[in-house]
């Protein structure tokens, strides 16, 4: 039982990181119709720039928001320089553009930060806490709390603010949104900025758990992508649930079977989802009233 709880907490911690990436994917995909393959690179930039800022002597709690800000600005620049000029192109062309952006950002990461892995000092002094029989790293718990807070803020933003409501409208039906006077190009810019910021948070949160390198973006991006598929590609709550589920699957298969197989099991589960519920696990069958 105590092990079960330990795996569950580990799974939820890693899963909430995937959830942030998946929300980034969903936000961009729905507002612009683009599957942003550079999403993982935003996590890399967030993590590594945070390491650099900490090494420059900035305290960690100042470095984190700065790193997120830097990444968000890069996300905005990517949209304005690479996506917006090609707005009229077909979605597949835009996806290839994001692949190019991903390779470019990874290359820049290599030039700036080199090949050696960098680690971020722990956010809080690392000690083990006993929680209902399970031994949990305080670091993990802290990350979990931060991530939950961010997900709550995201929920509030999308559901309760007017800008969030306009973004959701552009997601649902860009043409009708433009008939309301909503500039969908601005919405696309905002979507990329938010997604990049979310990627950076994910990167900063994962850096103390594993090391950060210039090529970390690919794998973490794939994980976020899988989480989005679990959730059905269109729904933000679905993406969050998908991320948590993926994290928990990985943690349990790593704990009870073998860490060698945890990725294989997670991706195997993805195949099952694609075979049997390609519309996503958490979406209801949809129908339009005519």
């Amino acid at each position: 039982m105590d092990l079960f709880l330990q795996y569950l907490i580990t799974g939820l911690t890693v899963g909430s990181i995937y959830a942030l990436l998946a929300v980034g994917f969903v936000t961009i995909y729905n507002v612009t119709g683009v599957l942003n393959l550079a999403q993982g690179e935003f996590a890399m930039i967030g993590a590594l720039s945070c390491v650099t800022l900490v090494n420059l002597g900035i305290p960690i709690f100042g470095a984190i928001p700065l790193a997120i800000l830097i990444t968000a600005i890069i996300g905005l620049a990517v949209e304005r320089l690479a996506i917006n000029p090609a707005r009229k192109a077909t979605p597949i062309v835009l996806v290839v553009i994001t692949l190019g952006v991903s390779i470019f950002l990874k290359g820049m990461g290599l030039i700036i930060w080199g090949t050696s892995p960098k680690s971020l000092p722990p956010l809080v002094e690392s000690k083990s806490i006993e929680f209902m029989g399970a031994v949990v790293n305080s670091q993990s718990l802290w990350i979990l709390v931060v991530l939950i807070a961010h997900l709550v803020v995201l929920y509030w933003f999308f559901e309760k603010t007017f800008l969030g409501s306009a973004l959701r409208a552009s997601e649902k039906n860009p043409r009708a949104a433009s008939l309301m006077g909503i500039n969908t190009s601005t919405m696309s810019m905002i979507a990329f900025t938010i997604a990049a910021g979310l990627g950076a948070i994910a990167g900063v949160m994962i850096a103390p758990l594993t090391d950060a390198t210039y090529e970390m973006g690919f794998f973490i991006g794939i994980k976020g992508f899988v989480a989005m598929i679990f959730g059905g590609m269109h729904s933000i709550p679905g993406a969050v649930a998908g991320g948590l589920l993926l994290g928990v699957i990985e943690a349990f298969s790593g704990g009870y079977i073998s860490t060698y197989y945890s990725d294989a099991l997670a991706f195997g589960f993805l195949l099952l989802v694609l075979f049997f519920r390609p519309q996503g696990l958490f979406t209801k069958a949809t129908g339009e009233r005519v």
């Binding site: 959701r168 006077g181 500039n183």
Partner: protein, 240 residues
């Protein structure tokens, strides 16, 4: 006054509209009727800026609006209620209406509140669903919501694309009555595109008949509805 001069439009490589001329005077309902595929929806979408015209001029009270992107045209005072209503199904009724006045939301919150109240007065049926999501409304209520959402932006001219589609005759009548009210109370110009010709001619002041991207006839609604060709082709009345 709303004026369209030699407007041509194409979708992809196919020319849909061929040099159309027409106008709507203040406080007038103009109906555009025609068969499926005549180009009526393309015309409305071109006026609203979804498609860019390849030729011609559209002016709204001497303000040139053709060539502007859709979201700017709304600000100039032209609003389209698209075919199939296209409300935002996951948004509440209130959110749907508020999005209609998007460009003024941050500038004049009081005005937004006033318009919301006016819409509830105009469409009392929406009141009890105010905080429920739009996707659960009936077809007629969704159409009311779509019209209300368009009126939120205080349009000088409102374009409606097949508002009667899939609705019961009683509800169609309610919607037509509202159009007359909008015209009389707010002096809004209305362009009504309909396949339900009988209904359209009931409220229109004038009508244009469209065929293959051209106007083949125009006149007051009496002239149009008594025309033998219109009678046989669109009203299903056998002549002679």
């Amino acid at each position: 006054m709303f004026k369209v001069e030699s407007l041509s439009s194409r979708i992809g490589k196919i020319q849909i509209l061929h040099s159309l001329d027409f106008h709507v005077d203040k406080g007038e309902i103009v109906s555009i009727i025609g068969a499926n595929g005549a180009g009526k929806s393309t015309l409305l979408n071109t006026l609203a800026g979804i498609y860019t015209p390849v030729e011609g001029k559209v002016t709204l009270q001497d303000d040139l609006i053709s060539g502007l992107p859709a979201h700017k045209i709304v600000g100039k005072g032209l609003c389209l209620v698209p075919e199939g209503r296209q409300i935002f199904p996951g948004h509440t009724v209130k959110e749907n209406l508020t999005l209609g006045i998007y460009s003024k939301y941050y500038k004049d919150r009081k005005h937004v509140e006033e318009n919301l109240e006016r819409m509830l007065e105009l469409f009392p049926g929406l009141k009890k669903h105010y905080h429920r999501i739009g996707g659960n409304l009936s077809g007629g209520e969704q159409q009311m919501l779509a019209i209300g959402r368009a009126l939120m932006s205080d349009p000088k001219i409102i374009l409606l694309d097949e508002p009667s589609m899939g609705l019961a005759p009683k509800i169609v009548n309610e919607i037509l009555e509202i159009l007359v009210r909008i015209k009389e109370e707010m002096g809004t110009m209305v362009i009504l595109v309909e396949q339900n010709v009988k209904a359209a001619l009931k409220v229109a002041d004038r009508a244009y008949v469209m065929d293959q991207g051209k106007f083949i006839m125009n006149g007051t609604n009496e002239e149009i509805s008594s025309n033998p060709e219109v009678k046989s082709a669109y009203l299903g009345i056998k002549v002679g």
